[in-house]
Amino acid sequence: MSNRLADGGLIDRGRRLRFRFDGRGYEGFQGDTLASALLANGARLVGRSFKYHRPRGVFAAGVEEPNALVTLLGQGRREPNARATTTELYDGLVAESQNRWPALSVDLMAVNGLLAPLLPAGFYYKTLFGGPGWRFFEPWVRRAAGLGKGSTAPDLDRYDHKYAHCEVLVVGAGPAGLAAALQAADGGERVMLVEQEPRVGGSLLWDRRTLDGRDGPAWAEAQAQALAAMDNVTLLRRTSAFGYYDDNLVALVERRTDHLAAAPAFTTRQRVWWVRAKRVVLATGAIEQPLLFPDNDRPGVMLAGAARAYLNRWAVKLGSRAVVYTNNDTAYACALDLAAAGIEVAALVDLRPAPDGPWPARLAEAGIALLAGHRLVGCRGGQSVHGVEAAPVNGGAAKPLGCDLVAVSGGWAPAVHLHAQAGGRLGYDEALGAYRPGPVRQAHESVGAATGMFELGQITGATVDDGDASPVGPGVEPAPGKVFVDLADDVTAADVELAQREGYRSVEHLKRYTTLGMGADQGKTSNLAGQSLSAKARAESNAAVGYPSFRPPYAPVTIGALAGADVGLRFVPQRRTALDDWHRRHGAIFVDAGHWRRPRAYLRNGETLEDAYVREAAHVRQSVGIADISTLGKIDIQGPDSLELLQRVYVNDFASLKVGRARYGLMLREDGLAGDDGTTARLGEHHYLMTTTTGHAEHTLSRLEYHLAVDWPELRCVVTSVTEQWAAIAVAGPSSRDLLREVLDGVDLDDVPFLAVADVTLDGVACRLFRISYSGELAYELHLPAGFAEAAWTRLLSAGDGLGVAPYGMEAMGALRIEKGHVTHAEMNGQTGAADLGLGRMAKAAKPHVGRAMSQRPALTDAERPALIGLVPTDGTTDFKGGMHLLREADVTPAPSLPVDSLGHVTSWSYSPALGMPIALALLNGGLAANDGATVYAHDPMGGRVVRARVVSPHFYDPKGERQRG
């Protein structure tokens, strides 16, 4: 730590921390940031610039840092673009520099710097787009320009979210935030105070002020202790407010373990807080702005406030000879601090011709030369600054000043980001050269430096020393040269002028054309300067130029933190049937159906999925199978007007449905297309049970609720989801009646005809039995309270042992329904009406219902519309694929030549055990009426396959339905 001052600083010299940067070992102290530790080791070059690969050093001391972006490694992580200035040092930290090849000190990509005149703003747009250019150049451009490389490995860290409510949220624990929090907390209200740094105090941590006779950091910590002792106060350190949304919702990110060498168990790395506050106090402080001059990006040029922070907070000896360049009073204290730390100050260069007030005298007292009315016109150096040239603002000879540190202050801009995100207006203050918060739209106020007010005594109410300094100062016309406006994105003054010349006048266009303010720092030290240059080029005021929208996040937030804990298996919650564990234990492979997971097939030894489902489906046709159909939506409908509700939502008639019977029903959407289908049973005079498809259960319920609440509030009728209460087991196959006879009591199954409902008991448990067939076989659905499902399921399996009962899964169910030509949401796809699905006859009932008027539009009654058909391969063996397009012979001979007109597409396909060949359902223009027996060609353009197929009825198996009625 060659550049560490002998004493001072808010660091713990008793705790040495080892770290590595670009493979080299260094040491720092507890309390250092990576940036302060590197500077203390004399490591001045920390990165290469975005576009020109120019050497860059630490420029700031906080979240506004544009240059010192590094990739953090170690602990299984690779986090690119971390700011070294906000990365707390811990023992064992490993980091590397970015955007250089092969090494930071020898970066061959710096050739871009020589090409700089050829790489102005918009270069890529102008040169590389159109024709083959971009495709050819993109990999080169991406490699040459850019930031750190992310990782494709899984994120080993864990994150979570937390909601909080409070009466007052104070953002920022500098002097103004501490004062505001204490004042609010005295009233007993719930107060949250959040501070992005590990320590409270803000500017007090480095600007050597005394308050009530104590030094700044001690005063701040005492305030924090007082707050922490109050029950109604939550103080979060290392926590940034990054987003301000409507209804006073503020998003915070808390870095819980990033500063630790080893995180405690069960503790997430970062936490996003969603805070709903009655009132928000923005004590976000101000961000120092630079002054522009040629080659102002050399390592060793930094903000004056940052220089003070490295000196005073981290005891870093930044150089041996410094030049301070300013347009305002605040940098005078920097010159004094540098001198006090034993760094020679070659001169303080002040733009103002005659600076007044107490500061020039203090400078003279310290023996520091003042060059008033001067500006910097040059900056020499390579991987470090060697010197600058100062010249009178009004013209005159330039004077060289040798130095290895340039501390710059262009004034201080209030951090108005959250205020603006919240919808607050901003007003440009010409004297300050920055925006101040204006009228608000939500319940928040700004305090302290965030308002452009810098009097410490007034802000804190404490008795303070006479160290106040005004940040007010004039702007500067930069001397000609390579003047960097935005260090993060390598945007120069010339780029801003070019944008203006080429017509990108709007500040939003300026931003996008030049990338001004689009870096990881979001232009915190460059937007204002860029806008000022644009204003000069437009010969208008800054207020007229305006500012681009302020958007979250205020500072970068890890994607992992935004995702929180809902990753991996928790990305979507798993919804399990009451039989889920049985399926798992018996070889089921699962398939997702919305949140549900359903057994796809039960694989026996060595079986493939196809082996298993063909076996299971054939088994149902031959003897009896049972399937878990608990996921079907089940809606209990009761009340005197229940029938009226059904009549209004179903296309077919339910008035004739008797108690104890069930009927298949089809619902249309308001636009006349098919919505959902299912059977509805009449359980009592005014009591129905509607079933829906698995996928549309919630949608159908909310639709019914909406109709009852909004459209037809006069109906005396209520709907209640009972999906979770009732497990459901399909018992299907020629032996299903025999199987149920073994286990059910309270019913004579010969008295339960097709589409009848019966109350039954199974081992004393009351169940409902529905004689409904999806498979086309003699079949039943047994509904029973979910907690008894597994007992009933195993009872069915053991009772049916002699009958050869076996479970079947979703794939077999699909094969059976395709054989029967039953539609599901593959066919009911939001583009098909009742007639298209072969259900036109159901819609003949002369009653009004939802979707009726729209279903009679000419477009929906056109005979040429795609309608449901069946397909079989003419060779009897080639299988289909979902989504295959149906083409004419002429369009596939000798080979498909795209594009061609598609006649329709395959919606579902399966191998049919009953037919012994692949079969498919498809939607084909004109449907069966126009195509029965015709030959079409099913084409998979991705796989390149063509299947010659014959159009047949979609009812492949038992078209008269004799088996299900048997």
Partner: protein
């Protein structure tokens, strides 16, 4: 038939888990088994004195929770309301009892309501992470109702969230 099977059979193991060196366990988590749950949905006046929005009230031997407009959940009690559907949900909901010092800390990881202001007897139909849940404030904690199909995932969510405070699953 024997007793109903719990939806949580494969995830509930008695014991203490998570971080226990901070004075924990902060959460005591258990399933309330065998409750009789009845959903009452009315299309007109019920003729009963049932609690208003976001509230609960004793009813018979049990309690009635207001779970929505003209909708109540009766817990371990029965009633014969006029003009209402009475639907058994005993198997459709899983009820978890959460007690301990960290109940609010755990719930606030996924529940957006102001839990500081959620008092004993209060009812909230809200969410916990991705789960639609019903919260009922009880002495020293909360009863949480969740649909049976999501119960296992919800349990896993809660135990994951409770890890940093430590949690205990008592012997039933």
């Amino acid at each position: 038939m024997a007793d109903a099977t719990s939806a949580l059979t494969i995830v509930t193991f008695p014991g203490r888990f998570g971080r226990l060196d901070q004075g924990g366990p902060g959460l005591i988590l258990r399933e309330r088994r065998g409750l009789r749950l009845t959903e009452v949905a009315a299309w007109d006046a019920t003729g009963l004195d049932l609690p208003g929005p976001n509230a609960s009230a004793p009813l018979g031997d049990g309690v009635a929770l207001n779970i929505g407009p003209d909708r109540w959940l009766l817990v371990d009690t029965e009633a014969s309301p006029d003009n209402a559907a009475v639907v058994d949900q005993s198997h459709g909901r899983v009820v978890l009892r959460l007690t301990g010092a960290a109940v609010r800390e755990v719930l606030s990881k996924g529940c957006p309501i102001d839990l500081d202001r959620f008092a004993q007897g209060d009812v909230a139909a809200t969410r916990l992470g991705p789960f639609a849940t019903l919260l009922h404030g009880i002495e020293g904690g909360v009863d949480l109702y969740v649909a049976r199909g999501y119960a296992q995932a919800c349990w896993e969510w809660l135990t994951d969230a409770a890890g940093e405070y430590g949690y205990e699953v008592p012997i039933p």
